[in-house]
């Protein structure tokens, strides 16, 4: 059980004026980043990380969390007004948000999405508070065998869930990411693998430039190659949601909050799937199924609650297992390490105050997001009027400088370009990016755990299959792969 005094201490620290100021600007920046099609949460976090180098760790983490929370929410603005999700996590929001906007209820939809996001974040935070200590305690029993399966299962399940139409492509993307992670010096003999005598490759591929490429440049190329300009709805209707609508949807918010958090918890799955799963559950349990896809407030709230709840959900494995629950949380994990924080099973013993600080920062970011979302929606929407031909080159300059700023070496800019172009080609062929990035993050853990495990068992694979947690993870991984062998069904149209 989390101690109330420790939670209050976390809030007391987060309410210090300097941190409060950081929360406000980073959340607002996040909302703008989330709103702009072509800018993703992952890219925003990857670009902000080098700018936090000169900050102390508390300020840096507050800024990154504010941006994360704000950006996931910000995507809903564009989804509702333009029918174009600002971030992939808001794709489900557009299904009912845009029809509501076309019915001259845009402001109401924006406000309902805000309320859903706020409650989703709160549900996720409560679950984070209660599950993080339990998971960290449980993970203290994990050894190399369990971490090997956790890394492998993470890539497989991420590949499966982010490419529901064709999980094989998700797995290939994951294996590709794991293979890229093999580049550079390994830890047993310090042998430099696949570096071909190139000095810069001996240190391996830096995660943040790769992510800026895979999520930033890919979005720029996709955005600029499209010839279709989005049609903007009128921002009209009530500014505040009806209390009755909020009360009537309390059950939907609670369910979606839990579903979103659970989806966030699963390695590499994250906010997008959190929104879709919450939407699907809400539709299945709704008395007005026919309204889904035609302007259902219930569907809108479910999607927004789900993606926002996935944010704290994705942070749970980051803190307790050092395994990211989503692509943006992979950047957060890298940033924590850069700032000298070592997440993992020891977190509640070594730095429990960090967990409570994270909880407080997320809650304050959610509060800022709610106030800003309700009060500043109209001025913030003005940013959507900037033509992409003028916005995207500026974004690319930030991508380039952001990649360079990590270690001040041009090689990282080339990495960003290579991952961007490769990612663009793969995305055009329907390969998802999230498993590729998760593979890049988890490759080192997979390699280290496999070889350490084999050293401990003197070459026997038996403990990988017989230790209880390993056996469960192995079975889940095999089951996930075997499911592919079932006859494929077409993905149902969510509007149907």
């Amino acid at each position: 059980m989390p101690e109330l005094s420790a939670i209050l201490a976390g809030f007391s620290d987060a309410l210090a004026l300097n941190l409060l100021f950081v929360t406000v600007w980073s959340t607002l920046l996040g909302i703008v980043i989330g709103m702009l099609p072509g800018l993703t949460v992952t890219m925003g976090l990857a670009l902000l990380t080098p700018l936090t180098f000169h900050m102390d760790s508390a300020t840096a983490i507050t800024a990154l969390l504010g941006l994360y929370v704000g950006a996931i929410y910000g995507g809903s603005r564009t989804a509702i007004i333009l029918n174009m999700p600002g971030t992939p996590a808001s794709a489900a929001t557009a299904l009912d948000g845009y029809p509501l906007a076309r019915q001259a209820r845009a402001r109401e939809a924006l406000a309902l999405a805000t309320v859903g996001s706020f409650f989703g974040t709160l549900v996720g935070v409560v679950l984070l508070l209660f599950t993080a200590p339990i998971l960290a305690d449980y993970a203290l029993n994990f050894g190399s065998f369990e971490f090997f399966w956790l890394a492998f299962f993470g890539v497989v399940i991420s590949g499966h869930l982010t490419a529901l139409d064709d999980p094989l492509k998700g797995w290939i993307a994951g294996f590709l990411g794991l293979t890229f992670a093999m580049i550079g010096q390994e830890q047993v003999f310090a042998y430099s693998r696949f570096s071909f005598g190139i000095h810069d490759l001996t240190g391996g591929i830096s995660l943040i430039p790769a992510m800026v490429g895979a999520f930033g440049l890919v979005e720029i190329l996709s955005g600029i190659s499209s010839t279709k300009a989005p049609e903007m709805s009128q921002n009209t209707g009530r500014l505040l949601p009806k209390v009755r609508d909020v009360v009537n949807n309390a059950g939907t918010m609670a369910r979606s909050g839990i579903a979103g958090t659970v989806m966030g918890l699963i390695p590499g799955v994250g906010e997008d799937i959190g929104a879709w799963v919450s939407y699907a559950i809400a539709k299945r349990l709704s008395r007005a199924k026919e309204l889904f896809g035609r302007g259902s407030t219930e569907g809108l709230i479910a999607a927004e609650t789900g993606n926002s709840a996935a944010v704290p959900g994705a942070i749970i494995p980051v803190l307790t297992l050092a395994i990211p629950g989503s692509a943006p949380s992979a950047v957060l994990l890298a940033a924590l390490v850069i700032h000298g924080i070592q997440p993992g099973p020891m977190i509640m013993i070594v730095s429990a105050e960090l967990v409570y600080g994270v909880v407080a920062a997320i809650v304050l970011a959610a509060a800022t997001m709610t106030v800003a979302g309700l009060a500043l929606t109209t001025p913030l929407l003005a940013v959507l009027r900037v033509p992409r031909e003028r916005l995207l080159p500026v974004i690319f300059v930030l991508c380039t400088v952001g990649a360079f700023a990590i270690a001040a070496r041009p090689f990282d800019v080339w990495t960003m370009l290579a991952f961007g172009i490769l990612g663009f080609v793969l995305r055009q062929m329907n390969y998802p990016m999230a498993p590729l990035v998760l593979g890049l993050v988890l490759g080192d853990l997979l390699d280290k755990s496999l070889r350490r495990g084999l050293i401990l068992s003197e070459g026997s694979v038996e403990p990988f299959l017989t230790r209880p947690i390993s056996a469960v993870l192995a079975a889940a991984t095999v089951l996930s792969i075997v499911l592919l062998l079932r006859p494929r069904r077409r993905k149902p149209d969510p509007r149907a």
């Binding site: 080098p50 700018l51 180098f53 000169h54 094989l168 492509k169 797995w171 290939i172 294996f175 590709l176 794991l178 293979t179 093999m182 390994e186 047993v188 003999f189 042998y191 693998r193 696949f194 440049l217 720029i220 190329l221 600029i224 190659s225 499209s226 010839t227 033509p387 031909e389 003028r390 995207l392 080159p393 500026v394 690319f396 300059v397 930030l398 380039t400 400088v401 360079f404 700023a405 001040a408 041009p410 800019v413 080339w414 960003m416 370009l417 961007g420 172009i421 663009f424 080609v425 055009q428 062929m429 390969y431 997979l446 390699d447 496999l450 070889r451 084999l454 050293i455 003197e458 070459g459």
Partner: protein, 167 residues
């Protein structure tokens, strides 16, 4: 070319890549002379991943086609209509010239000004789908102003506020 054919091509590429990874892993030293058993070899994990990549690629390449007779070219399938292709191609060329050639080799302000200005001009005038005759001068002015503001603004942000040396 159908999507199934495109999957076959990408599947074969992954088979090839997987085989190369296995081959590269096999050639890595095993440190047996230092008494290391085979399961400590640096090539173990990449070798297994190479196998996984090759097998997945083979399944993708060999599975049955999933769609009907859709006859489009490879490039159309991957990059869409000719207009989209041109735009994507131009963006790749511009970003590579800036990131790999200009950035770090020419002063930051000059490189960034050239990139931003060229980008706006190419996409607002050169590759605009609507045949614009009006507003060209406006686009040129916007491109130049944006180039100046972006280069000065980002240099101020990174060098002055965040102490990151750019040039």
């Amino acid at each position: 070319m159908t999507n199934g054919a495109l999957d076959r091509i990408s599947g074969l590429v992954f088979v090839g890549l997987g085989c190369l990874v296995v081959w590269g892993s096999w050639l890595m030293p095993r440190f047996e002379d230092q008494g290391a058993p085979v399961y400590q070899a640096p090539g173990l994990t990449p070798g297994l991943l190479g196998v996984a990549l090759a097998v997945s690629g083979a399944i993708l390449a060999l599975r049955r086609g999933r769609d009907g007779a859709q006859t489009t070219t490879f490039w159309q399938n991957v990059f869409g209509a000719p207009q989209s292709r041109r735009r994507a191609g131009a963006a790749v060329v511009l970003t590579v010239i800036y990131g790999a050639v200009l950035f770090g080799n020419t002063p930051y302000l000059v490189a960034t000004f050239l990139f931003v200005t060229a980008f706006v001009l190419v996409f607002e005038i050169g590759l605009n789908s609507q045949n614009r005759t009006k507003g060209v001068v406006r686009s040129v002015i916007v491109a130049i102003v944006l180039g100046v503001v972006t280069s000065l603004g980002t240099r101020f942000l990174f060098e002055t506020l965040f102490l990151i040396q750019l040039s």
